[in-house]
């Protein structure tokens, strides 16, 4: 129902502004790179130590010393810079990364996010997620509105161990674009073919319908 992951990525790509330095998490966020408008310049940060990340390499250009934070081989663009992990998280904590897009397991109406641990399952670790959510000024969560069991991932309170408190401002799901304001979800846009009632139904947390609610522009 609603958008597929590529369409979610496409919708989020519209949030990028000329000159933005952007960190894209693993999964749906990574796909956003494919939809960046050609008329703006956006520089991608990879937290393992690179600014100016380019596309995946051609087969004959694979370099084991050049990977992204998802451990995939990548290339660099003209004007890129390489640096240490300390410098990388320095610029993240400093707030110099303008936009961070992350996946999540749960988001609460207070802007809390849980995306690193499921009790009872093998815990792989938080990687850089806790640093990113603690410091980024502008964080968008990209995720499906409900989990595999059909339960809402937009909650009054997170039930899973949290990654960060009061840090999420916007959530883009397969159903909707939702802002978080004053401890409440605010429905800003609905996916084409998805009714507001369906979104209300799929949202466990308090959802206010914005007066200006409209259909997502996926052009």
């Amino acid at each position: 129902m609603g958008l597929n992951k590529f369409q979610i990525a496409k919708r989020i790509s519209k949030e990028l502004k000329d000159g933005d330095y952007v960190n894209l998490g693993i999964g749906i966020p990574t796909l956003i790179a494919n939809y960046i408008r050609k008329d703006i310049s956006v520089i991608l940060q990879s937290e393992n130590g690179l600014l100016g990340m380019g596309p995946f390499p051609n087969k004959n250009k694979i370099d084991p010393d050049m990977i992204n934070a998802g451990k995939e081989t990548i290339t660099t663009l003209s004007g890129s810079a390489l640096f240490s992990s300390a410098e990388s998280f320095g610029m993240i904590r400093r707030g110099r990364v303008n936009l961070t897009v992350l996946g999540a397991m749960e988001v609460s109406q207070a802007g809390d996010i849980a995306n690193w641990k499921i009790p009872g399952k093998m815990v792989k670790g938080m990687g850089g997620a806790m640093d990113l959510v603690a410091s980024a000024k502008n964080i968008i969560v990209a995720m499906m509105h409900t989990n595999k069991k059909g339960h809402s991932k937009l909650l009054k309170k997170c039930t899973l161990p949290i990654t960060g408190l009061n840090c999420i401002k916007k959530v883009v799901t397969n159903l909707a674009v939702i802002d978080i304001e004053n401890n409440m979800f605010v429905l800003k846009e609905h996916a084409p073919g998805v009714s507001i009632e369906e979104i209300v139904e799929a949202t466990e947390g308090e959802l206010k319908i914005s007066e200006s609610v409209c259909e997502m522009d996926l052009s």
Binding site: L50, F89, K124, G125, M126, D131, A134, S135
Partner: protein, 229 residues
């Protein structure tokens, strides 16, 4: 004074069981392959390893897990390793998970003689348990401490006999901070160049931090996820 060693085994001659070792690398990128092999050969046991990741089943720190030489891993992300998971669930292996930026900064702090610093990462999460919280500019921060380690195992691209180092690409990652942080810092390089060949203006790790250096052999530089267009 000679910092030059023949190979990994030569360079870790004095390592003891139950040492704490920092190992550079992100995933399998920029890991000290030769030094890890040397540890396997030397069968050093009960190790505490500080490294962002724990390798894969048959490469990187995974090799040390297979031989049960690791007692504890201090990392930010430890997926992609079935042996790791088995030992963790059986209680053989201890794991301490640390946010990646905090891990990097705790290494940097150790190398810069800063015993503690405040960071916002992890506030309100499990990571904050037992840690001092202090408010700066209206925002909560956690006190985090510099790592203590007996050895730092570092992989660089080029180095000279004095210990000046240059890293390459994203293989830099944790290596420079660990090089500075190690009580004894041991470096393997792909290329050992004559002293004076490296431009002083572009050296990533100045020689002062390096205790031992050798030219590594047979680099596999395995790629975890080959991804092409």
């Amino acid at each position: 004074m000679n910092k030059l060693y023949k190979n990994g085994l030569d360079a870790i001659f004095d390592i003891k069981d139950h040492s704490t070792i920092m190992l550079g690398g992100f995933g399998l990128c920029g890991i000290p392959e030769n030094l890890i092999s040397a540890l396997v050969t030397k069968k050093t046991k009960g190790l505490t390893c500080i490294s962002n990741n724990a390798g894969v089943d048959d490469f990187g720190i995974g090799l040390l897990l297979k031989t049960r030489q690791v007692k504890k891993m201090i990392s930010s992300y430890v997926g992609e390793n079935a042996e790791f998971e088995k030992q963790l669930l059986s209680g053989e292996l201890e794991v301490e998970l640390i946010p990646q930026g905090t891990l990097a900064e705790r290494c940097r702090a150790a190398g810069a003689g800063i015993p503690g610093f405040y960071t916002p990462a992890g506030v309100g999460t499990e990571v904050a348990e037992g840690k001092e919280v202090k408010v700066f500019n209206g925002k909560k921060h956690l006190l985090e401490l510099a790592f203590e380690s007996d050895f730092a195992f570092v992989k660089a691209w080029k180095g000279d006999a004095l210990g000046n180092l240059i890293y390459r690409g994203t293989a830099r990652n944790f290596n420079p901070m660990m090089a500075a942080a190690g009580k004894i810092t041991i470096v393997e390089v792909e290329e050992l160049v004559p002293v004076g060949e490296l431009d002083p203006n572009i050296i990533h790790t100045p020689s002062i931090y390096v205790d031992r250096i050798f030219k590594g052999e047979n680099y596999e530089k395995r790629i975890e996820k080959i991804t092409t267009q």
